[in-house]
Symmetry: C2
Subunit: 152 residues, 2 copies
Amino acid sequence: MHKPASDNAQDIHSSGLKATWPRIRILRLFQQTTQRHLSAEDVYRSLLADGEEIGLATIYRVLTQFEQARLLTRHYFESGKAVYELNEGQHHDHLVCMMCGRVEEFCDPEIERLQQQIAERRGFELREHALSLYGVCSNPACQAKARAESRG
Amino acid sequence: MHKPASDNAQDIHSSGLKATWPRIRILRLFQQTTQRHLSAEDVYRSLLADGEEIGLATIYRVLTQFEQARLLTRHYFESGKAVYELNEGQHHDHLVCMMCGRVEEFCDPEIERLQQQIAERRGFELREHALSLYGVCSNPACQAKARAESRG
DNA sequence: GTGGTTGATGATAATACTTATCATTAACCA
DNA sequence: TGGTTAATGATAAGTATTATCATCAACCAC
Ligand SMILES: [Mn+2]
Ligand SMILES: [Mn+2]
Ligand SMILES: [Zn+2]
Ligand SMILES: [Zn+2]
């Protein structure tokens, strides 16, 4: 299941970066974690919990480098802080539960096509887009919480 | 063209807020400005330039209050800072030029419908969404700049 | 209109997230 | 197996935003 460290080293190397231990550990974390979407702080705490000695500055640097190397992708989810996820090629957008923070992924080819059309009509060369849906998921606890909030 | 200050006072009052001079000036700015989308800093500098004495903390506070009162809406545009615009009822999304920062607005009913459908299928009660398209606008200067950047 | 109550203001401190600096360390390659 | 050069980590700095608190001004009852 887990790729051996040498494979991670390969991926990192072929992005033109030295295969250092912090980089290997960060990439491995994204490949192994169940929670796909991680902030810098998430990565930091996770590696500390694993007994690694790593600086927060290194996390931020490496996440940025991995994004530029297209090993990771970055999103905002309107939370004020960036989250990253493994880039596995196929584009998708996100559906976020405002109560529990759960993130589901989707890709709708029709929406993608319409976006392209809108940009073209206005003479824009479309480079990227951010689409996030926010709502309340099917978890009964989330629905109860939502009802409680709407009362106040 | 300009609403009289008393009208702004009305709008503010009916949101349950005292019609103070800073609030009146901030609301007026959004009603009069040509550049629809303004950050807290934009508002601050604009009012200072108009000779107002106003604190930045007040700007932040009032923008938040106006958003809660649905007089303004907030967006992020992936810039790391929030921008606000007058809420005139009809929802729309944004197309942003990555070279000059120009913002165009659009609303595609088909995309709206598909979003709703995606949320429903997954058992989410959709509350809101953020859709922003990023690209290069038709301005020749922007296209030249984009070409220059892609070379490096 | 006036005055008292109460919420608003603005200076500034604090916080949250992120990037820059720089001396030390480690990856790579000849 | 060094030497070169880039990476690391501690920490300072930067940027956007929120909290604190003493002073001030809207509003409402009179
Ligand atoms: Mn994702
Ligand atoms: Mn807009
Ligand atoms: Zn939920
Ligand atoms: Zn442009």
